[in-house]
């Protein structure tokens, strides 16, 4: 027994290293997508405080550009709007609607932290559960797709960015409706990969890629990007490099999408 204690004492530096390193590595490996979401929700409030302070300064640098985009979008929306929903600064309220069957419902939010240089990039938004945001809702901006919400606290939300190795979403070629999967290969924050398009389909640079609407997160036809380059890799499918419409370095305002029929859709799938 004394020998054992002696041994532990003599090698305590190495043993402690082993224990701590094992804890850290298993943490890194075990926390996959969903567990991460819970962990994010737990720690988000502390981090969000700092990020919001920083963001309140950096927002000034993007003001001109953001205003221009907002006014453009406003005009576009006014042209499109056929039925008026009551709105104030924060929310758009949907009226109880039995005729038009409104399916999606958008909440505007501000980005208070964002990265593009990591392999697993996340954004933080300044709205949370109290403003009606839940985990697993789609996030878009005026230019295109942004990500999917993961962790939600009362007033903050973390978003799994398109620029994250864990991100996957169903997408299609706008011109002929062939669908595949969008994912990121970690190389460049301006491009993503569209895979699973069969090789007999005609794909040419410049073709537009949009969301397919097969996942319950995004409506059909949200713009993603344009085809930059396509080649067939060992066998039957294209690997298509898509240039994103969304400029992830200048994200300031985004819209979170609530799918009002999501539960109904999922229930049917389970049956």
């Amino acid at each position: 027994m004394r020998n054992l204690l002696n041994l532990i004492y003599r090698y305590h530096f190495f043993l402690l290293f082993l224990v701590l390193e094992t804890i850290a590595v298993s943490m890194g490996v075990r926390y996959n997508f969903y567990q991460k979401a819970k962990f994010v929700a737990f720690t988000e409030n502390i981090a969000a405080f700092f990020n919001e302070t920083v963001s309140s300064f950096t927002d000034y640098f993007h003001l001109v550009e953001t205003n221009r985009k907002l006014s453009l979008e406003n005009t576009m929306l006014r042209n499109q709007l056929q039925r008026v929903y009551r709105s104030d600064d924060l929310f758009f309220f949907s009226e109880h609607d039995t005729v038009h069957r409104q399916k999606y419902f958008f909440t505007s939010a501000r980005v208070i932290s964002n990265t593009v240089t990591r392999m697993h990039n996340y954004l933080t938004l300044d709205k949370g559960r109290d403003q009606g945001i839940e985990p697993e809702m789609g996030v878009i901006c005026s230019e295109g797709i942004v990500g999917i919400t993961t962790g939600v606290t009362r007033n903050f939300t973390s978003v799994l960015s398109v620029l994250n190795l864990n991100f996957h979403v169903s997408a299609k070629l706008k011109k002929n409706n062939y669908f595949g999967t969008i994912s990121w290969d970690g190389r460049d924050y301006r491009t993503v990969i569209l895979s699973e398009i069969p090789y007999h389909v005609e794909v040419s640079p410049g073709d537009t890629v949009v969301t397919s609407g097969y996942s319950s997160l995004f409506p059909e036809g949200i713009p993603i990007g344009t085809v930059e380059e396509a080649h067939v890799e060992n066998g039957n499918f294209y690997i298509i490099r898509v240039r994103l419409f969304t400029d992830f370095r200048h994200l300031t305002y985004v819209d979170v999408i609530r799918n009002l029929q999501k539960e109904e859709q999922q229930k049917l799938r389970q049956e």
Partner: protein
């Protein structure tokens, strides 16, 4: 003793804040992502006991992990670096060992020694961090380039930090 604890608490807070408030928001390119917070482990006194060194490394890494949503990545890399520190210090020790009351820095041991001390440790930290982050050797060279670029950037920041300390001491 109390003084030392206060001093290093201050350094810890400053480095962590610099990392999460400033450096994490400066995104020059994906090949230069600096992690200045490792400086905290590098500047700890020579006679820091091993167990304390490891625990402090765990704490530092975990704090950064909280802010970056990376859970264990920075913790693992920093603990590994802290474990290697005594070995590296021993390898490059001056002939008559380290004098008491000196600190690991340029002011006491010169630039050459400081580079020999910091480059291997920062490199190990970044190597582990970046490969653990992508979790594959698929884009081996692209990741290696990220490691080398980021290591150089971190090193420049560490040296700038040393200038700051040198100046303080002269005054």
């Amino acid at each position: 003793m109390i003084n030392t604890i206060l001093r290093y608490t201050f350094i810890f807070v400053v480095l962590v804040l610099t990392q999460v408030v400033l450096l994490d928001n400066i995104e020059i390119s994906r090949y230069t992502v600096p992690f200045l917070y490792v400086l905290f482990i590098l500047v700890l006194p020579f006679d820091t006991p091993g167990w304390l060194l490891l625990l402090l490394a765990f704490l530092t890494g975990f704090t950064i992990d909280l802010f970056e949503h990376t859970y264990g990545l920075h913790t693992a890399a920093t603990v590994l670096m802290a474990w290697l520190r005594p070995g590296v210090l021993q390898l490059i020790a001056p002939r008559d060992g380290y004098t008491p009351n000196t600190r690991p820095g340029i002011s006491d041991y010169g630039l050459g020694w400081f580079l020999e001390y910091t480059i291997p440790l920062i490199l190990v930290h970044h190597l582990f961090l970046f490969y653990f982050e992508v979790f594959t050797f698929h884009h081996f060279f692209s990741t290696l380039l990220r490691v080398l670029g980021s290591t150089s950037f971190t090193l420049v920041l560490v040296l700038l930090g040393q200038l700051f300390v040198l100046k303080n001491r002269r005054e």
